[in-house]
Symmetry: C2
Subunit: 308 residues, 2 copies
């Protein structure tokens, strides 16, 4: 039993991340962003708050940080716009909320939570999602808020390279942020948010807002948030598959998480995921050269990492 | 091994369906629509065609039939518009394609297939999906094409009843069409299409276009198409769960399908699903009073049913 144990893990995306592409200044800022996100979530757990509150708070910090591809730092679509996806799920009730292709919501993860708590639905997209956001009184942001020079240059580079993958870092292409947590009441939760990937076609939705693909939580097993080539995580129904391998085949969290990442790799996709079980065990597998990630385990030990 | 065996199953939605609410004429037309859909799919399988071709053909017939809630007969949103969702998946490759909230595509299932075959993506929504449809040369329909008096009256009744569930038949509220098939090469496929439910909020997406929720196919296990209260099928990751129970726990198709429908019921949802395994076994479980359904099994035996 979890008996008051609590823990949290976060990610800020996986990809081809190498020290020679990241300046010391940016690495310091990335680590600071991860630390701040971890602390936002962990403080809630320490004070007896819910895992739902913790993962939303942790993701919100990363959405507000221009270095991560979600919210403020969302990448540009091929139309030079922003379309963001987010989801949240509670392990106790299997309640979930998600949004896709929202263009002007400052914090998509807050809208996903509002969908879960204030509508009978799970997934709203596009204008319908924004109409709901307006009713909920959520904060809208001017398109200019989401304009970061770094992301705009990434779009320019991709346009110039005509999407030749070899000339682009994964940083240019995609990224996602997410959090999973176990709270003192033994409840699991997961949250994920993304701007998709640079130069994506308008209207494309990836795995992030799809329950069971990029986001899943179930108190019987685990909470999962994924990052990487979304389409492969969708085909693998990756997040739910981690849970199913634990529940039906009796695998431990780390083995189930690794098995699913390997399946995604067999399909041709790359990426990683973060997962936590009801004992507070944490797994952070990825098969890229790096994944922005962090955790505070049940013993209170903090970890922040970027490279393999 | 499947060794040349082939079979197909279809559904046209599950709900509170009782003989006193359906005139003999309408029942005859409903049965004729199911028969025509079955035959369209089965003829392809008999002639050695693929399960993918078969399920798309079967669903297309139901999309063109105004009596079923997909394509032509799609229900109205609260805005008096139509927003359709569809998905298709191949069991051999785990390739999938899906669309959500498309408003003017005559056959959403054809667009879902085009997304699978002609884009690197799986799910497109709204205007982005329609822009892709235009590039693919798919047929658009005038909004008037989707206007059926029956569905308009359903919207009027719901508006008058202020969505008091007791005063409405499930027929008024929702419905979905779908098909699953095994072809002579041993490949499974699934396809699902829907107009959602009457008076839904614009922007809402249900389980139909979500891989693993309303639609799933995997040659290791089964192909599944679901119908019912979509949000509950999403939370249960229902279609993938049928597969996972077979693969990881060794359940037979019928037992896995029934277990998942029971889980959806435990969450508070109603509905049903159709499923087929790689031996051609078929399961059509539902816990409503009726489900429009049909099948042709590996022995060539035809079945069409409406009530329990």
């Amino acid at each position: 039993m979890s008996a008051g144990k609590f823990a949290i893990a976060i990610h800020g995306g996986a990809g081809t991340i190498s020290p020679d592409k990241i300046t010391p200044e940016i690495e310091r800022d990335l680590r600071a962003g991860l630390e701040e996100s971890l602390e936002a979530g962990h403080a809630i757990l320490r004070n007896g708050g819910s895992s739902l509150d913790a993962v939303v708070a942790a993701v919100r910090v990363l959405e507000d940080d221009p270095l991560f591809n979600a919210g403020r730092g969302a990448v540009f679509t091929s139309a030079g716009t922003h379309e963001m996806d987010a989801a949240v799920m509670e392990g106790k009730t299997l309640a979930a909320g998600a949004v896709g292709c929202v263009k002007r919501i400052k914090n998509p993860i807050l809208l996903a939570r509002a969908v879960m708590e204030n509508s009978p639905h799970i997934l709203f997209v596009d204008e319908g999602a924004e109409a709901f956001a307006r009713e909920m009184g959520l904060e809208f942001a001017d398109p200019n808020y989401f304009h970061t020079d770094q992301r705009w240059q990434a779009l320019e580079r991709i346009r110039q390279a005509q999407a030749k993958a070899g000339e682009l870092s994964d940083q240019d292409r995609h990224g996602t942020v997410g959090a999973v947590a176990l709270d003192q009441s033994g409840n699991l939760a997961a949250a994920t948010s993304t701007g998709g990937y640079t130069n994506k076609r308008p209207g494309r939705i990836g795995d992030t807002p799809l329950v069971g693909a990029g986001t899943y939580a179930n108190n019987r097993t685990c909470a999962v948030s994924a990052t990487g080539d979304g389409e492969f995580f969708i085909r693998a129904v990756a997040a739910h598959d981690v849970s199913a391998l634990m529940e039906y085949r009796g695998l431990k969290l780390a083995d189930a998480a690794r098995a699913v990442i390997d399946k995604v790799g067999d399909l041709g996709g790359t990426g990683g995921l973060i997962a936590i079980d009801r004992e507070g065990n944490i797994a952070l597998p990825f098969h890229t050269t790096g994944m922005y990630r962090g955790s505070v385990d049940v013993a209170g030990k903090r970890f922040v990492g970027i490279y393999k």
